[in-house]
């Protein structure tokens, strides 16, 4: 039993010293323009999604996805998100690709996050990515229009696509 405890303590020391040594000697690669190994990217991705799922409000979008809602959300999207996330009907954002993790290009891949999660991410941002919190700048209602738009971005009616390009009077 005594040896078991000694073994356990040895393992903790090895893990701690190994981790600190690896990091402190600069072996963790940090360039945003090189791909990390797939297992690492996959682990980060599932961690973020699991955390968002746990934190996002358990509710449906209080706004109905009318054309009016989608157009309001689309205008927000065009004014604040396109720079990194890409515009509908345009090539992917070259700027968004220079971050790591790379910025999801919603117009081409859509999103697997449901509306409440998109809302939560827009409001609070994601730590250790380039995604900053928009909560200080927008009302919840505006962010709900945005999440309605983003979750439907691959399936927008021509009326909505047209509407978001119009200047508001």
């Amino acid at each position: 039993m005594k040896n078991f405890v000694v073994g356990a303590i040895a393992a903790i020391v090895v893990l701690a010293v190994g981790t600190l040594g690896y990091l402190g000697l600069g072996f963790a690669s940090v360039g945003a323009d090189a791909e990390p190994p797939a297992w690492e990217a996959g682990l980060m991705n599932s961690t973020v999604h699991a955390s968002v799922r746990r934190s996002a409000p358990r509710m449906q979008n209080p706004l109905a996805p009318t054309d009016e809602t989608l157009i309001a959300g689309g205008k927000l999207y065009l004014s604040d998100c396109v720079g990194c996330h890409g515009a509908p009907g345009k090539p992917a954002s070259a700027f968004g690709a220079t971050f790591y993790p790379p910025v999801p290009q919603f117009p081409s891949i859509g999103t697997q996050y449901p509306e409440a999660e998109v809302f939560w991410v827009a409001k609070h941002g994601i730590r250790r990515t380039g995604m900053s919190p928009q909560g200080p700048y927008y009302a919840d209602t505006e962010l709900w229009t945005l999440s309605a738009f983003i979750t439907r971005i691959k399936n927008l009616s021509p009326g909505v696509l047209n509407g978001i390009q119009q200047r508001s009077k």
Binding site: F4, V52, G125
Partner: protein
């Protein structure tokens, strides 16, 4: 000896399963609008600085530090960096405190010029710092590195000349 190995392996297994479980259950906090625990940001900073130091190499800035080069770097800075990193001589914009980009206009930087050059070119993974290598020539990024390094110590002529001209 058998018990020692058993204890060793059990502990490794517990740590691995514990870490994966913690992450998979969504217990790791990811929201960007609250402060990260200090030990966590310190550890990240420690690893990032060590890695940048190892990667940047020993190449020195080949451009002379003339006013012209600093002005060129300063114009790039105002155009592409000031939004997150703050304007020289001004208190850092209206960015909330918890946003992590270093506010050069307040704190300067501990990184050397070659390290700044490397960061601008390659970005830093898992931060909002993107890679500018695809957009700027090495020469331009060296002017930027020279500027950022001296940002709180600029000759008045440089400060004047980087401001956009009022029509």
């Amino acid at each position: 000896m058998k018990n020692f190995s058993l204890g060793f392996l059990t502990t490794i297994a517990v740590f691995t399963i514990g870490a994966l479980g913690y992450l998979r259950l969504g217990l790791a906090e990811v929201q960007a609008d609250v402060n990260t625990p200090a030990w966590e940001s310190q550890l990240q900073k420690f690893a990032v600085q060590a890695s940048v130091r190892r990667s940047a190499g020993k190449v020195q800035n080949a451009m002379p530090t003339t006013d012209d080069n600093l002005i060129a770097g300063g114009k790039l800075y105002l155009n592409g960096c000031a939004g997150c990193h703050g304007k020289p001589g001004k208190s850092p914009s209206n960015l909330p405190e918890y946003l992590p980009p270093p506010k050069f206009s307040q704190a300067g930087t501990q990184y050397s010029e070659p390290e700044l050059f490397w960061i601008v070119k390659h970005g830093i993974r898992r931060t909002g710092m993107s890679a500018y290598g695809p957009f700027y020539s090495d020469e331009k990024m060296w002017t930027l590195a020279a500027f950022v390094k001296r940002m709180n110590n600029l000759p008045p002529t440089v400060l004047e000349n980087i401001q956009p001209k009022n029509p």
